[in-house]
Each structure stands twice: as structure tokens, then as C-alpha cells.
Symmetry: C2
Subunit: 211 residues, 2 copies
Amino acid sequence: MANNRDISLPVVKRLPRYYSNLEELMREGVLRISSSELAGRMKITASQIRQDLNHFGGFGQQGYGYNVSDLYHEIGRILGVDQRLKVILVGVGNIGKAIATQVNFSKRGCELIGLFDIDKSVVGQVVAGKRVCDTSDLSDFCIINKPEIAILCIPKSQAYSVAEKLIDSGVTSFWNFSHFDLNVHFDGIIVENVHLGDSLMTLKYRTNNKI
Amino acid sequence: MANNRDISLPVVKRLPRYYSNLEELMREGVLRISSSELAGRMKITASQIRQDLNHFGGFGQQGYGYNVSDLYHEIGRILGVDQRLKVILVGVGNIGKAIATQVNFSKRGCELIGLFDIDKSVVGQVVAGKRVCDTSDLSDFCIINKPEIAILCIPKSQAYSVAEKLIDSGVTSFWNFSHFDLNVHFDGIIVENVHLGDSLMTLKYRTNNKI
DNA sequence: TAGATTGTTAATCGATTAACAATC
DNA sequence: TAGATTGTTAATCGATTAACAATC
């Protein structure tokens, strides 16, 4: 079994997909599954499934396959679904509001502990059961509450100064919905980008060129 | 110059990033740039930039580099920013509303021509300047108006039947925000997935394991 | 035991990086 | 012309797939 640090990003990105497929199988009442059956369902190869899982340990049994419930819980553990990582969200506009209310944080081992906006007309509003705070309180809040993850739903123009503040206050991980390239401007941080505009343009290109 | 069909997905996914970096350079008034300067800005290699661009043609000049404005417009043309691809959105909940109002469709060569929801209390509302229609009108609308792209912001449980209807009515491309695996259930369609939950879990794993 | 299927090593494939001749 | 930098080919790296011995 490899050290978790050695796991490549493509493997990590597939873990949530395994997890939700196993959840589905549990709901269907399936007790065991072979790598090739699961591969058929997910339209990937059985080899890849066995390779991926064996990065984390031997969860299967020769001649039998994998116990669905066991594997589901193992992957849940790997993904830390029963953690309680503290998350804050900055920028409670359309997207921010949607993320705050729509994403099931607790199911994924996160806890949304603060919402921030710079706009005085938004500050004080209650979103997802929480009062939106003023961005000027951001640093103090982070130093006291030590959130691990910040969600950025702010305009590109504000991203640099907000990220700088957050990094100075100890935040290292960003779920970045802003159109700003955090990795280019800061070192040693962890970033997942959700660049909606880029995603749409990629889709458009593929639509035009049938790929 | 390769046929557009031969362009690999990793290359296609980088195009929007080149585009927005060139836009930025234009704003800064930079007239020319070498592959290594651009590489420095984007934290990628100059080799990759030259490889990527040469899939589409020789846009540079030996000893000089690339003309920023020319390259910007070439990539815009490749991405089809002055097209008017017809897009519909199904599921006007939190996320759907945010996408409809926040994404700049016209800037990206798209036109949002219809919004649909199954919930009677949402039907009739005006979102992004458009009246939300009933999902029961979806097939007729698509047969008449022939949208190329559908945005799915619906629950997993509704995804199969909605996608089937859309495919039967001629839609081939999906911007999929639902937690449903379209590619597994339908062949020959083009899908860009935005699985927010998966993205958050990936970020969490990376945060826990510092990768 | 025989059959099935894993865990793991080896082969292949594809993407990225390096090198350099072409050329502006 | 000399210097710079591209376009393109070759080398490397990493991820995926195939194969098979181990074993339940």
C-alpha cells in the first residue's frame, strides 16, 4: 500500500466516482461485485479499478471480488466523509448562494462555518441558516476559527487581495469559482478550480468538432 | 496543422486558459510575447505552448514570438466566440438560477434560448430576463428551436428521463451539473461534467494529504 | 479440488518536455 | 548578418491497459 502522498491526481479524482457508484450498489442491495462488473457499469477498465484500489490496500478477495459495503466504507474513510473540515465561503452572490445552499457539506465531511461578502446590502442576510458577515472581519474570523478550506465566489478583481488575506490567516486550500489563477500567484496552496466559463467553452469546442 | 478532430482533450481544455491570459495581456497593452514569457506567466512550459498552438497552425514568427492581439483573435476563432450556439437550461433551482444569471453566454458564443422546470411554482417566473417554461414543453421546444446544448441542473432522479427526451429531440451536447453519469447511459453524446460534490471531495482529500 | 478473480508486474499508449534545425 | 525564437522531431515521463501468477 502506497503512502497517500504518492497517489496521483487522476486516481484521487476517481475516488468520489467509485464512492457514489458503490452507494448506488448498496441502495440496489448488491452485496458483492467484481472489478469487471463494476467496470462495465462505470465504462472504465477492470484493470484500472484494481490498480486504483490497490493504491490504498487489498480490499478484494481472489475468486470472490469486493464486498460492496466494505469497499464503500473504506473509500468513505479514505475520503474522510466523517471528518468535519471547516469551510468558509467568500462572495455570497448568485453562485455563492447556490453553493452554500445546494452543496451537502456535512455528507462530505465538511462544515460550512462562515459566509462573507463585501457588499453592505448582502451583509446581515441569512443564507443557508447563517448570517453573512462583512469581508473586513475575514482575517480575525480565520485566525480564531481556523477554517481549512475557503470557497471563493468573488470577482477576479477581488481574488488576489482576498486570497492573500486568507493565506496570511492560515487557510491553505481553496475551492476556486473565481476566474483568477491562484496557483500562479501563490505557492504551496491547494486549489480545485471550477471555472464555469472555461468548461462551457470546452463543451462548445467539442460540440463544433464532434470530439 | 492537424484536423480539429485530432486535437486531444487536454489540449482543448487549455484553450480557454490561453484565451483569458491573452485577453489579460491585451488589457495590459502588451503587443508581443514569446512562448517562454507566456509560459512564465501561466506556470507551464514553453514547449507545451508551442506544441499546443501548432496543432492549429503556425501563429508565431521565429525570432519574434507571437503577436498578442492576433493570437487572441485566432484562439477566439478556434473557440468560436462569435458563434451563437443555442443553449437551454433545465432545472431552475439554486444552481440553475445562478448559472442562468451569472454565466456570460454571449461573450462565449452561446445564446440562452430557454429555461425549463418541472415545479409549477417556478414555471412562469422570470430568470435572466426569460420566462421559465414547463418541462412538459421541452420536446416540442427542442424540435422547433433545435438547441445544440442543454444544461442539466436537475436532481439525479430526473436526469435519465430528461436526457432521453432531449436526445430524442436532437440535443447532442450536455453541460451536466446533475450527479448522474450521462456517458454511461447514452452513447454518442458530448458531455462536460461539473460534479461539485466530487470536486469538493477531491479538494478535501488533497487537503488531508497535502498533495 | 476447480473456477473465479484478485493483486501485481510488464507492456503499451499518450502526453509532456527537451532539443535543435529552420527562419524571421 | 547575428540573435532570438519558432515549429517540429525525438526523448522522457506517467498513466492506462494487458497479462498472469497467487490465492481464496
